[in-house]
């Protein structure tokens, strides 16, 4: 079996938002939509204050509440663990958006572009089927799917790795198969301390946050 996951090393992330920009460019999302975003979390009290940068987005949960509530089966889970949306089935009811505890889903009703008129890259990648339906991070599953045809490994070969991971200048983000004990992400998780967000809700997210060495 295959279970694709993403890891984010919070010790490394510097909050540069390059992953956000790479995602926007790769997926031509509208200006108000950020499938990959980086939170700027301030904590503590002066003078002992901290800032933590936390990449987030769809967590591709093993038990996704969005999929359970979806009345149309548009949201479904693939064999490799990725949670996908069939834009032709979705009715845009927003039930998945209120069921997602990670605020990862967006519904936009009009085609909007970064600078008014669509740029060439936006025209090439925008998809009218995404209007008035739910959208979210797909872990760039079109790239992941290309791995089988090309004999490449997602997470190691950039051509078949999510755009955000490729772009991360700090090497904070990693992607790979958690069911493969030798994979990059399995090795990362074996040597670090990590958590998953909102685990208490029973969603079993596929997004791991690394906070210290073992």
């Amino acid at each position: 079996m295959t279970r694709y996951i993403m890891t984010a090393d919070l010790r490394r992330c510097i909050g540069c938002q390059t992953c956000t920009a790479a995602c926007r460019q790769a997926n031509a999302t509208p200006p108000t939509v950020q499938w990959r975003t980086v939170l700027d979390v301030e904590s503590g009290e002066f003078p002992d204050v901290r800032r933590s940068f936390v990449p987030t987005g769809c967590q591709h949960c093993a038990s996704p509440p969005c999929m359970h509530v979806c009345p149309t089966t548009a949201t479904h889970q693939r064999d490799d663990g990725l949670v996908a949306i069939d834009y032709d089935k979705c009715i845009g009811c927003g039930y998945c958006a209120v069921a997602c505890p990670y605020q990862a889903r967006y519904i936009t009703h009009r085609a909007e572009f970064a600078y008014g008129a669509a740029m060439e890259s936006e025209t090439a990648r925008s998809d009218e089927r995404r209007l008035s339906v739910a959208t979210k991070c797909s872990f760039c599953m079109d790239r992941v799917d290309a791995a089988k045809e090309n004999g490449l490994t997602p997470g190691l070969d950039p051509e078949v790795t999510p755009a955000c991971v490729n772009s991360c200048i700090a090497g904070a983000l990693a992607f790979g198969d958690n069911d493969d004990a030798d994979s990059n992400v399995s090795q990362i998780l074996a040597t670090t301390q990590h958590f998953r967000m909102h685990q208490e809700l029973g969603t079993h997210p596929g997004f791991y946050y690394i906070w210290d060495k073992k």
Binding site: G44, C70, T73, I91, P101, W211
Partner: protein, 291 residues
């Protein structure tokens, strides 16, 4: 992007309209059906017809909210786990049985319509509670709250229509009183559980703002009016009518507040902060929560 919970905008007053119309309509069909079985009266047909109109209005609210309404039949595809699908599957049977009950005015059709209305109401309660991203909705105590307020609204409307038809509704008076007590208990348990188990502070602020008016004017006032009517006889209809009106209106305000003003999302949290260099382990953060 914000870190602390913020007000979700995917479901707005139109979604609340579905819970108001569907809840009141199904509650009315249940309560009017019960009253009809024990004390047959001419107002049943009117009640059942109004119940169906309310449920239809609720569904129209949903149609007005969804992005691709012409694909709305896709809603029937996921009965395995989706309460929205289950509600949608019950709806046509509810309307068919309801229409039959309006025509027949008694018998099996009334029982069937009431049972389907109970299923519809239950689906609505579970649908709201399955919204895991909204802490004020996902608490298990949302279910009895939604069920009890649906029955209050239904009993209130049935009593009003019964009075308007010149009937004396002793069963509906008792039913309304019992439903009000049930809602009082379920509301108290819901709000206290939310405070204890933790919720976004702004959601709690919205619900605390409702607590006084709801408990004083939406609960105590109609309960007292009904007790007066029961103690002093139901010859004078105004205490029951006023209690019914207040019970219905307070239920609608409760649902509107819950679905719109209290609808803050989960936000984000870190159970532990990342270690940098030789830094020590610091406790995590959960901005915007009461605990």
């Amino acid at each position: 992007m914000r870190v602390a919970p913020w007000h979700q905008t995917n479901w707005d007053a139109r979604a609340a309209g579905n819970f108001i119309g569907g809840g009141s309509g199904s509650g009315l069909l249940i309560c009017a059906g019960l009253a009809q079985l024990y004390h047959p009266g001419a107002s049943y047909r009117l009640s059942a017809a109004l119940a169906l109109v309310l449920a239809v209005l609720g569904l129209i609210c949903v149609l007005a909210e969804i992005g691709r309404p012409w694909r709305s039949l896709n809603v029937l595809r996921h009965p395995q786990t989706s309460w929205m699908t289950r509600e949608a599957i019950i709806a046509p049977f509810l309307f068919a049985a309801g229409a039959a009950a309006v025509l027949a005015g008694g018998g099996v059709a009334v029982v069937l319509a009431s049972l389907l209305a109970a299923s519809y109401l239950y689906c609505q309660a579970r649908m709201l509670q399955a919204s895991s991203g909204i802490p004020a909705w996902r608490h298990p105590k949302t279910i009895p709250l939604m069920l009890s307020t649906g029955i209050v609204e239904g009993a209130g409307l049935a009593a009003l229509l019964s009075l308007a038809s010149g009937e004396k509704p002793p069963l509906l008076t008792w039913l309304l009183l019992a439903a009000l007590f049930a809602r009082r208990i379920s509301w108290k348990r819901y709000i206290e559980a939310l405070e204890t188990d933790g919720a976004p502070r702004l959601a709690l602020t919205a619900l605390r703002g409702l607590r006084g008016p709801l408990e004083n004017y939406g609960q105590t006032l109609p309960e007292l009016l009904l007790l007066i009517a029961i103690v002093f006889g139901t010859e004078k209809a105004w205490p029951v009518a006023l209690a019914a009106l207040v019970g219905v209106a307070s239920g609608w305000v409760l649902k509107l507040t819950l679905v719109t003003r209290a609808a803050y999302n989960q936000g984000f949290a870190l159970p532990v902060l990342p270690i940098r260099g030789q830094g020590e382990v610091l406790p995590g953060v959960k901005p915007g929560w009461n605990k």
